[in-house]
Symmetry: D2
Subunit: 383 residues, 4 copies
C-alpha cells in the first residue's frame, strides 16, 4: 500500500531567527496542503554558533547543522539554498550557491547596496540559463488578497491606474528608551524603515500595477537620534538610519504615487496599506486585515456602487483552494508557504519564478533614488 | 551536540477529512512554536478504506495506518486518541480509548445524543481518576481574541453581564440546487445548523460568561425541504435537519441571550459573532476578523470612550507570544495548534484541560432543550 | 420681481420637547430644499404651560401659542396637526383633529394600547374618504439608506427573504443611579424599550420586507427593579417597564426573524441594526453609520463578491438629490424633514402617505403579542 | 407673555449657489439650537442676475435682494457680509465691507492669489482694531470630531506629534467626458484640486497640530488634458488646473507630513482623511464617517490598547450638546451652523474668532509653495 511520493528537494537554510522560523514552517507545511512536484526536505540548517544552531534545528525540524555556509553550499544532498541571514551576507552566499548550481531563495531586501544587488541579478541570469532558479522573498505578493488584487488589475477592472497610495506603518520604536538594536545602525541594516518595510511597498506597488517607478521626490527623518545601547549601563549611541521615509513618485504607466514607511505610527502595529485608483475602479488593502480586499467597481449601477469587502477565502481565490472552506482566515506565515510552493513549482516546471533577483534589484534602485533625493532636499531623482 | 528533546507522545487519529487535516497540522506544528512537556508524534492514522487512508497518511505526515479503530486503540505506541470521525462514532471510540488508558481529544459536538454524551462524560470522569485526560474540540476557545475576551470578563472589566448576543452565520446551502449531503440528513448529522455551528456559540457563550444557560425559547426552520441527491440523475430527497435555529435564553448569572445559527445568510461565509454587554463594559467579536476584539470600557472618560479595536497580536495576549511580532495575523488552523498545546500541557502537568467532556455534555443538553422548545412552539424549556 | 410661492399650509404642533424640536426643524426646513406643493407655516405651538410654551415657540420659530389642544384643533388657520406629546394623549387629539378635517402627523408609537390605536386607525380611514391625510411618525423609514434598502428589496435584488435580524441597542440607563424617569413607568410610557425603540425595528422589518409578522416568541427583563425617584432625597421607586425585550418571529413571506431592544448595551448609543438575508443577496444597516448601506449581491462573480459599503449620498438615492453633492453626509433630523416632505406631497397630490395609522396599529399588535408571549414563558403568540 | 429676544444681526450674503445654500441654512438654524447673543436675520441676498437672485432669496428665505454688492455693503440694516461668491471676487468685497465696518465671513480659499490674501489679512487686522470681526470659512474645523481631535491634542494626549497624513479624495471628474467646467480653468478657479480641497487639509493639519508648515516638496498632475466644452457640440478645451496635487512637508513642531488632494480617486466621494501619530497616541478621521474619531492611547494597558471608535455625539463633545441625544448623527451642513455660531459669539463677546484672515493667508502661502515646488521638480520650497 505504498503511496508514491514526489522526489525529494533538499533544502539548506542559512539563518534561523524570525525569518528562519517562518521559512522552516513553510518548508514543513507546503507539501502537506499543496500538490508539489518535489518534496521539500529540511536537510540542513546553517548558523555560525553550533550550539544555538543545533537547538534551532531541533526546534524547527531540520535534519542536520552546518556552521559554515560554504560547507552548506557544497553539500550534494542540498538542491536549494534558502538565505535568511542579514542583508550584508546575501550577495556572497547567493552568488556562490548559484554558481554551485543550487536554486536560491533570498530574503529581502536583496542586498544592502545596489552594486551587490546588481551582481546577484547577473549571477541569477547566468544561472537561469543552466536551469537554476532564484527568487527574492517579497512574501507579501503571496497574500491571497494581494495576488487577487494583481489579478483584478490584469483583468483591466481598474482601467488606467491614476494613483498609488502606499504606507507601511509600525510603532515599535516610539519609546525613546527603546534600545539601539542592530536595525537602527546603518552599517548593519543598510537603512531604517526605508529598506526594512519601505522595500515591501515599493515591490508591491510595482507588482500590482505591473509598472515601474521612474523617479521620486523624498524626505527622511530620524526623530530620536540617540538611544540607549543594548545591555549597557545608561550609555547611549547614535541612531544612523531613518526612522521614517516619505516619497512621491511616478510610474511608467502615468500614475502618481505616495509612499510612507515609518516605525513611529503609534497604534499601527503592522499596517501595510495600499490603495490603487484607476479610471474604472479602485482597490484598497491593509495587512492588519490581510484576508480582505476592498474593491470599487466604477462600472456598477450608481445606486449600488460602493467598496466591496471581499473576504479572500473563496476556492477560486489565489492559493486559497488548498486550505479551508470559505470564511476561514489565513495568517502571516501562509505567505511563506505560498512562496515555497511557487518556487518549488517553478523548479519542477523548469520556469523562472517571480519575483526574480532582477525585481529585487529594481526595488534596490528605487530605494537608492529615495536616499539620493532625500539628501538633496527632495528634488526629483530618476530611478 | 545533541539537543535534549521531550519524551514522545504517540498520537493516533481517527478520520482524515476537514478536521483531520486541521488536527494533523496542529500535531505537526505545536512543538515547533511552543515549549511542550511531550513531543507529539503522528504515529498512526485510522480510516476504514486502506487506500484512501494511506494516501491521507502520506499527505498529512502520519507514520502508519490502521483500518479498524479498535486496533488503533490497542496499540502500545499510542498514548492519545484524536477522534475526527462523524458524531455517531464518537461515543464508542472515546469510551473504549479512555478505558484503554488513552488520553482522548474528541471533535465537537461531543455526540449526537444526550445519552451518548452523558456516557462519555462519565467515562471521562472515571478515566480522570486514573490520570487519563480528555478534551472536547471546541477550538474557538483558542482564538486569542476570545481567550482574551474571557480574561477581560474574569478581570471584571464588564461588570455584571446583562446581554449575550451570538450568531453563527454561513451561506453554503443558499442555492436550492445544492445537493443533499450527509450534513443535511438527521440520521447521520444529528441536527443541521444547530449542532454544527450552533454548538460553537453555545459553548462560547458559556465559556465567556462563566455561566450556564438555564433554559431556552426556540424556533427552527428548514427553508428548502427537498434537494437533489448527490450523484443522482435528478432524483431528490428530503432534508431532515434544520436550516436555521434561533433561540432566546437566560444565564445563571442573570443575563439574557439571543442565539442564531444559519446556513442561509447570503454573503456571511463564516461569521461567528458574539457580543457581551455588561454593567461596566462590552465586548464584540466576529470570526471573519478573528484577530480583533472590540472592547468598550464604560469607565472611560466620556470624551474618549468608544469601542476599541484591539488587534490581538501582542506578546501579552493569550497564545500569541509563541508566534510572530505584533500586527502579524494568525489564521484558522492556529486554534487547533493551541488546542493541542493546551491538551499536551494538561497531560504533562497532570491536570484536566478544558473544555471537558462534561462541558461538551452541557452543550448537548442546551441543544436538546432547543429542539424540545422548537417542537413545542417556542415555549420555555429548561436545560 | 415677485417670485410665485406655493399656498400656505398652517401647522399646529402639540408638544415641544425632543420630538417637538425635531419636527419644528423639519417644518422650517422642508420647503428650503424640496419643491413642495404647499408651504408649511409654523402657525401655532400648543403646550399646557403658557410660559414654557411661549419660550419654546420663540426658540423654535412658531408664530403663536395655544395652551389647550382643543383650541388648536379649532383654529381655521391650521390645516395640519402635528402630535408630539406623550403616547397617552395621541388618540384623543388625533381623532378630534381628523374629525375637524385637519391632516394629522402623529408621533410613534401610535398609542399606548391596541384599543386606542384601533380607534385611531378607524378614524383615519374615515377621514381619508374626505381627503384628510394622516401619517404615523416612523421617521427611520426616511433614512435614505433604509429607503434605498426598501427599493433594492422591491427590485428583487435579495430574492426570497429568509432572515431578518434586528436590534435596537442603547445604553442610557446602564447606571443603577439613573433616576426613575417617566419613561420607566408603565402608566405613562406604556412599555419600556419595547415600545420606545422596539417599535422602530418592528416597523422597519415590516417596511423593508413588505411582509407582516404572523407571531412571536418573546422574553422581557427588567435588570434594575428599583431606582432613585427624580428630585427626591434618596427615595426609590419601582421600575414598571421592561429594560429589554427579545423576540423571535415569522413573516408572512416565510422569513424567520430575531428582534432585540435594550437600553443596557454599554457603548451602543443608538445602534439600530437590521440585516436581511435573501436567496439572492443580503442587506445590512446600522443607524450609528446611517449614511451607509451594506449590500451583498449573491449573483456577483465569486472572485469579487462581498458586502459593498454603499455611501448613500448619490443624487439617485432617495431624498438625497435635494441636499449636497456625493459624499456629504446627512444627519438625524433629516429624517424628519423627509417625513414632512412626504406628508406635504401626499396632501398636495391627494394621496395617502405611508406609514398610515393602520401601519401604526399593526406595530401595536406586534408589541401586544410580544407582551403576551413574554407573560406566558415565551410560547408562540399570533399577532 | 412676550419672550425677550436677542438683538437682530442683519446678514447680507453675496452668492447663492452650493455654499449659499449651506450658509443660508446656517443663518436660519443657528439661533434655533444655540443660545446666541444676537439673532441673525437673513436680510438681503446679493446676485448679479435679479431674476435668479430673487428666486434664490425666496427659496432660501432671504428678505430682500441686491444686484450690486456695493449696494449691499452700503446698507444700514446689514451688519455682517457673508461672501459665498467665487474666489476672484473675495478681496474686493471683503476689503470694502470691512472698511464699511461690516463683520465679514469669507468662504475659502481666502483669495486666488497670495497678494490678494495678504491685502485681505491686513484689512482684517485694521478692522479688528475697530471691533469689526472677520472669519474665513474653513468649516471643517467645526466638525465635532475634528474639534474634539484638536482638544485631545491640546490636552497633550498625543504627546509630540511625529506624523501628519492627510488626503482629500474625490472622484467626480474621473470620466473623460466630464465637461470643462469653470473649476477646471485656472483663470477662474485659481487652481484645481489643490485650492479646492487641498486647502482644507492644509488648514486642518495646521489647526489640529497647532503648528505651521515650514516648507514642502510637491508634485502635481493633470491626467486628462482636454475635455468637452460645456454645452458645445463636441468642441474641446484645455484643462488648465491640476487634477491632483501631492506634497510632503515639515511642521514647526518637528512633524513630517504627507498631503494628497485628488478628484480621481474612483469610489472616494468625499473622503477627507487625516491621521496624526504622536509619541503618546494617535488620531484618525475620515469625513465619510464624520461623526467618528479614531483615537489610540499609547498609555493604555497593552492588553486592551487599540484604536477606539469614538462616536462624537456625547453632550460633552464640541457643539454636540445643542443637538440630539447620544448616538444621533450630525451631517454636513451642521458645520456651517457651528461656524455661524462661533462667529456670532465672537461678535457678541467682542473677540476675534478663528480661523482669521491671517490663517487664510497662511494656507494660501502653503498652496503657493506647493505650486512653486511642483514647478521645480519637487525641490523643497519654504512657505
Amino acid at each position: 500500500m505504498a503511496v508514491p511520493q514526489p522526489p525529494v528537494l533538499g533544502v539548506g537554510m542559512v539563518g534561523y531567527a524570525f525569518m528562519g522560523a517562518a521559512h522552516s514552517h513553510a518548508w514543513r507545511t507546503a507539501g502537506r496542503f499543496f500538490d508539489l512536484p518535489l518534496a521539500p526536505e529540511l536537510t540542513a540548517l546553517c548558523g555560525r554558533d553550533a550550539v544555538s544552531a543545533s537547538a534551532a534545528a531541533a526546534r524547527l525540524g531540520w535534519g542536520s547543522v552546518e556552521t559554515d555556509w560554504k560547507a552548506l553550499v557544497a553539500r550534494d544532498d542540498i538542491a536549494l539554498v534558502d538565505i535568511c541571514s542579514p542583508g550584508d551576507t546575501h550577495a556572497d552566499i547567493a552568488i556562490a550557491a548559484l554558481a554551485a548550481g543550487k536554486h536560491v531563495l533570498c530574503e529581502k531586501p536583496l542586498a544592502n547596496t545596489v552594486a551587490e544587488a546588481r551582481a546577484m541579478a547577473e549571477a541569477a541570469d547566468r544561472a537561469a540559463e543552466r536551469g537554476v532558479r532564484s527568487m527574492v522573498g517579497f512574501s507579501y505578493r503571496r497574500v491571497p488578497a494581494l495576488a487577487l488584487a494583481r489579478r483584478l488589475v490584469e483583468q483591466g477592472r481598474l482601467g488606467e491606474i491614476r494613483h498609488v497610495r502606499a504606507a507601511y506603518l509600525q510603532d515599535w520604536i516610539v519609546a525613546p528608551e527603546f534600545p539601539l538594536v542592530w536595525r537602527l545602525r546603518r552599517e548593519v541594516a543598510g537603512s531604517g524603515a526605508l529598506g526594512d518595510i519601505g522595500a515591501h511597498i515599493v515591490d508591491l506597488a510595482q507588482y500590482l500595477t505591473g509598472d515601474r517607478l521612474t523617479g521620486v521626490c523624498a524626505m527622511t527623518e530620524t526623530f530620536i537620534r540617540e538611544r540607549p545601547l543594548p545591555d549597557s549601563d545608561g550609555a547611549v549611541g547614535t541612531v544612523t538610519v531613518d526612522d521614517t521615509a516619505l516619497f512621491l513618485g511616478r510610474f511608467t504607466g502615468g500614475a502618481v504615487a505616495s509612499f510612507e514607511a515609518t516605525r513611529f505610527a503609534a497604534g499601527r502595529k503592522n499596517s501595510l496599506r495600499i490603495e490603487l485608483n484607476g479610471s474604472r475602479g479602485s482597490l484598497a488593502f491593509d495587512l492588519e486585515a490581510m484576508n480582505e480586499l476592498q474593491f470599487y467597481d466604477g462600472t456598477d449601477d450608481p445606486d449600488i456602487a460602493g467598496f466591496r469587502r471581499i473576504l479572500v477565502t473563496e476556492p477560486s481565490h489565489p492559493y486559497v483552494g488548498a486550505w479551508w472552506p470559505p470564511g476561514h482566515l489565513l495568517g502571516y506565515e501562509h505567505t511563506f508557504t505560498h512562496q515555497a510552493v511557487d518556487l518549488v513549482n517553478g523548479i519542477g516546471a523548469g520556469t523562472d519564478p517571480a519575483p526574480s533577483f532582477a525585481d529585487g534589484l529594481q526595488v534596490q534602485l528605487v530605494l537608492d533614488a529615495v536616499e539620493r533625493s532625500a539628501a538633496s532636499d527632495g528634488a526629483w531623482h530618476a530611478v
